[in-house]
């Protein structure tokens, strides 16, 4: 039994939360929301616990795919249920199951209508996202990737703000458009390799023109998800309208799906195209970093500001990818994790305020620190982490990416580093207007400080942000071997020795 468990760790990590979601849904009783909450918490906790062995059993020296398992799923198309995770996927899987747990706790008394459906959506979504991170068969991956949209669509649409329908439909259609082109690329590769195994895709040589088309098909899918400028416009809408839990999952995990997929698909399958298009990719990343940071500066809505800040921070991630050096790539991965914690925490902070005052506008607040001192301490800490204060996790990733960039081109590093100032400006300015100064109005005066539940989740996140800032080796030890492996993949040209007939 124990052996069975250890051989199917990833399957447990995927299907346990899905099963928990179904159970929560099936046993729903509108009159007893508390029973539903406890059940969901139990499901979330179990789902988190089964992902822990992925860390303890991980072989740090191995950069390849571990915990592999699989069987033939749809032989007619040669589609396999094939799972596996490497040093890139495991931290993201842990992040996913952890964030889901946080979201369940954060929703405790905040969500009052249709509790069971809310909890079930997040549990099922957690399983599906872990599936995305661990699928090694393109169609299996695609099924998880698309299926994950359904619960997110419902979360934003049912529990979202006034303009939720527009936001959620935009979110769904943007992502669907991108992913369908990716599906066409998958089918093209399948017709040429006879299999949907990602490993077979890696080995398939393609001339540069074909590689560029394949890369672009992937690019559209992943750039929308990350999101990169100029296809980022769905994100601020979705974030603003989503309930707190939805924003947290979107920022902490959903955006990472895009980043992860770049490294798993686009770059190793079409490495020559990736190198060929690097100038464009770096330009888009720098535009995201600089321009979006400026956009964030003028936002009046706190959630929108954090959404733009997310896009800007994800710009660092894509910049790190396309530097093609060790430190840049590793920095990008650390940045993804760190952003997962920090943005989740910041959206939770906004959620704390929104639950009390029901406004996300910066101007509705002022002097909150006077009435909510404990909360203000946390909020200021996370804001500092967001600006990249040394000692927090926000610093490590950005610093590594900038170090990587300076090895390639001074101006890349200059522009990226310069933006840290903008980052500090928009974050701290918001903190100043919301938390400091005189108490702005009666509503702020009537605020009560954090309750135990809120204190607990913010404290856990703060500890993690500090831990990752002080001891990033916990992550980099894991990713080291994988990063080397990925870089050798990217460096191998896949141009055919001679052009195949007919081209």
């Amino acid at each position: 039994m124990q052996n069975y468990f250890y051989h199917h760790l990833l399957s447990f990590a995927i299907w346990l939360p899905v099963l928990a979601g179904v159970v929560v849904l099936a046993s729903a009783n509108e009159k007893k929301p508390n029973a539903t909450r406890w059940l969901a918490l139990l499901g979330g906790l179990l789902s988190f616990l089964v992902t822990i062995p992925l860390y303890t059993q991980f072989n740090f020296a191995d950069g390849g795919l571990q915990f592999q398992e699989g069987f033939s799923w749809i032989p007619a198309f040669n589609i396999n249920y094939h799972l596996g995770a490497d040093g890139l996927a495991v931290p993201l899987i842990l992040l996913t199951s952890f964030t889901t747990l946080i979201v369940i706790i954060a929703a405790w008394e905040v969500i009052q209508k249709r509790v069971a459906q809310y909890m079930a959506c997040f549990l099922i979504m957690s399983g599906l996202m872990i599936g995305v991170f661990s699928a090694l068969d393109a169609i299996l991956y695609y099924v998880f990737w698309e299926a994950m949209l359904i619960p997110m669509f419902l979360v934003i649409g049912i529990w979202g703000g006034p303009n939720r329908v527009y936001a959620t439909v935009k979110f769904f259609l943007y992502t669907l458009l991108g992913s369908l082109l990716m599906l066409v690329a998958f089918i093209y590769l399948y017709l040429n390799t006879g299999s949907f195994e990602i490993a077979d895709f890696y080995r398939f040589p393609m001339p540069l023109q074909v590689q560029i088309l394949v890369f672009l098909a992937f690019f559209v899918a992943f750039a929308v998800k990350i999101p990169m400028w100029p296809v980022h416009t769905w994100l601020p809408d979705a974030h603003v309208e989503a309930p707190t839990g939805g924003s947290v999952v979107l920022a902490a995990i959903a955006l990472k799906l895009g980043g992860y997929s770049f490294l798993r698909f686009a770059m190793p399958i079409a490495p020559d195209a990736a190198h060929h298009l690097t100038p464009y990719m770096i330009s888009l990343s720098l535009i995201a970093i600089v321009y979006i940071a400026l956009v964030a500066l003028v936002q009046k809505d706190m959630k929108k500001l954090i959404a733009y800040s997310s896009i800007s921070h994800m710009g660092f991630v894509t910049l790190g990818f396309f530097l093609f050096n060790n430190i840049g790539l590793e920095g990008a991965i650390v940045q993804m994790l760190s952003h997962g914690f920090i943005s989740a925490a910041m959206f939770l902070c906004v959620g704390v305020l929104y639950d009390r005052v029901h406004s996300r506008q910066i101007e509705a607040y002022g002097g909150v620190a006077n009435t909510m001192p404990a909360f203000a301490a946390f909020a200021v800490f996370f804001a500092m982490a967001n600006t990249g204060l040394p000692g927090t996790s926000g610093f490590v990733g950005e610093f590594m990416v900038i170090l990587g960039a300076i090895q390639i081109n001074f101006w890349y590093a200059f522009l990226a580093a310069f933006t840290l100032i903008f980052g500090a400006a928009y974050t701290l300015w918001m903190v100043k207007r919301v938390f400091y100064g005189e108490v702005a109005n009666d509503q702020v005066a009537a605020l009560s400080d954090l309750n135990k539940r809120e204190f607990f989740i913010l404290a856990v996140l703060a500890l993690l942000v500090l831990a990752l800032g002080v001891y990033p080796q916990a992550v980099t030890d894991m990713t080291n071997a994988t990063v080397n492996e990925l870089l050798t993949h990217f460096a191998q040209s896949k141009l055919p020795a001679s052009l195949p007939a007919g081209l």
């Binding site: 729903a28 799923w73 749809i74 032989p75 007619a76 198309f77 249709r114 459906q117 169609i139 695609y142 099924v143 698309e146 299926a147 949209l149 359904i150 669509f153 419902l154 649409g157 049912i158 939720r164 329908v165 959620t168 439909v169 769904f172 259609l173 669907l176 458009l177 369908l180 082109l181 599906l183 066409v184 089918i187 093209y188 399948y190 017709l191």
Partner: protein
């Protein structure tokens, strides 16, 4: 004598359906309205008996009867079994609806069985005449069914429109067939194929005949530019009849296309491929874009059907074995989705109220989370979002088209699928994000609820494990076409 007996045994399921349809028609005259359930049970038992004989007589080998005009092969058997299942679902879903509207009469069941008989003859047709007779029997029964609710002006208008346009299409089909007959000297599909294969130069009249045949078929399938009747008939007919028109006959139409184009006219593949391509692209374009503007759920599903037919044509136009297999997979998936979709509409309607406006679905999640969830599966399946069956259907036909080299047409189809997703999402939006306008509790008989749950969940379960259905399609097409 031996031959006659052999002929009759080969067509036993058809004979059962025929006899039972007439028995039901007669029994209805002698039975009190309170005991109409007997009629209903007889109709269901007919399907069961026909299914038993189709299943037990199935052999992988091909047998022909009636001097080669009638064929019993894998495709005939498999498609017939699916038709029985679909028709049985229709009977279950529609019973309460018909009772509420005074249409729970023997005529309905007799007419549906006659239309089923027409479809069965179509899938077993091995001569142009058999195919045509089957098609006409189907069409005439459907015209009458649309007009069943004779005091309803809209239904009468729909029936009239359907009849006039349908007769025109039948005329075109017959005209095309006459040209093919004139050029090849045979009505038998295999002999037509032989005549064309013999290498004589293909005369322009053959191509002209092909154009008329394809046009007639396109009308019956509801492909653009012959789609005009579809939305009006869907909207005007009683929902139970709409469900019938939109579902099972597509299986027969698919068989008709395979028999006519692939078995009889494969030598003209280059020509019909182009025609199907144009219709496929236009169907997907017009079906999806026009569906966005609809406020009537039945009309929206009509346009959605048109776009689904476009996807089926993507599989057929590849003119490869895989293309036909995947087209069949798509048609079967489509029938399952449509039955579940209309099943929910029927379940929500009650005396004096048709749940056929999009707004009638508002807040369904608050009224009945279970039915909202089933409709959610149906809608995502129609939109082709995994892990539902609709995804594999789209995935496989697109793969066939890509393998045949139509890369840009596939990209086009994919973009249209995104537009299509929009109006399916709107249905979900109404069910989940809006508050209900109507707070009547949903009353439906237990059997309808169970069958509906089974039907809609099948979309999810087969979506997770599509292998068996795919194997069935592979078996059917390869053993019938090799």
């Amino acid at each position: 004598m031996e031959t006659i007996r052999y002929d009759l045994i080969t067509a036993l399921p058809e004979l059962i359906v025929l006899c039972m349809a007439m028995v039901i028609l007669l029994t209805d005259l002698f039975i009190s309205p309170a005991r109409r359930m007997v009629i209903y049970s007889m109709a269901q038992l007919t399907l069961l008996a026909a299914a038993y004989f189709s299943f037990s007589s199935h052999a992988p080998s091909v047998s022909t009867a009636f001097s080669g005009a009638f064929i019993d092969d894998a495709m005939a058997d498999v498609l017939k079994l699916m038709m029985y299942l679909g028709t049985s679902f229709i009977f279950v879903y529609s019973r309460q609806y018909l009772q509420h509207r005074g249409m729970f009469r023997g005529e309905f069941y007799a007419l549906v069985l006659f239309s089923l008989l027409g479809m069965m003859v179509m899938v077993s047709g091995q001569s142009m005449l058999t195919l045509y007779v089957g098609l006409e029997l189907l069409s005439l029964s459907l015209y009458a069914l649309v007009a069943m609710d004779r005091d309803n002006a809209k239904a009468t208008e729909a029936a009239m429109k359907y009849f006039v346009l349908g007769a025109l299409a039948s005329g075109m089909l017959l005209y095309g067939m006459s040209m093919v007959y004139g050029m090849t000297g045979s009505l038998n599909l295999a002999e037509i194929n032989m005549a064309l294969m013999s290498g004589a130069k293909i005369h322009a009249v053959m191509i002209l005949g092909l154009v008329f045949i394809v046009a007639g078929l396109a009308f019956k399938l509801g492909a653009v530019p012959f789609q005009m009747w579809v939305p009006d008939v869907y909207e005007g007919s009683p929902t139970a009849v709409t469900m019938l028109i939109s579902s099972v006959p597509k299986l027969a139409a698919f068989a008709f296309v395979i028999r006519m184009l692939v078995q009889a006219l494969p030598t003209l593949a280059v020509d019909w491929q182009q025609m199907l391509m144009i219709m496929a692209v236009l169907s997907i374009l017009i079906g999806n874009i026009t569906a966005i503007a609809q406020t009537n759920l039945k009309r929206m599903l009509a346009y959605s059907t048109i776009s689904h037919i476009g996807f089926v044509l993507y599989g057929l136009m590849s003119a490869t074995m895989n293309g036909f297999i995947f087209a069949m997979f798509y048609v079967v998936s489509y029938v399952l989705m449509t039955l579940a979709g209309f099943g929910i509409i029927l379940l929500l309607s009650r005396p004096g109220f048709e749940a056929d406006k999009l707004d009638d679905l508002k807040g369904l999640n608050q009224r009945s989370p279970w039915h909202a969830f089933l409709m959610l599966i149906v809608m995502f399946s129609m939109a082709g979002v995994p892990p539902t069956l609709g995804f594999y259907a789209k995935f496989s036909v697109l793969q066939a088209a890509l393998a045949a080299g139509y890369i840009w047409l596939v990209v086009f189809a994919v973009l249209m699928a995104v537009i299509g997703a929009f109006y399916y999402l709107r249905v979900i939006k109404l069910m989940y994000f809006d508050d209900p306008l109507d707070t009547h509790s949903i009353s439906a008989p237990m059997d309808a609820r169970i069958v509906l749950g089974f039907n809609a969940l099948a979309l999810l379960v087969i979506g997770l494990m599509p292998e068996k259905l795919m194997e069935l399609c592979i078996y059917t097409i390869t053993s019938s076409l090799s």
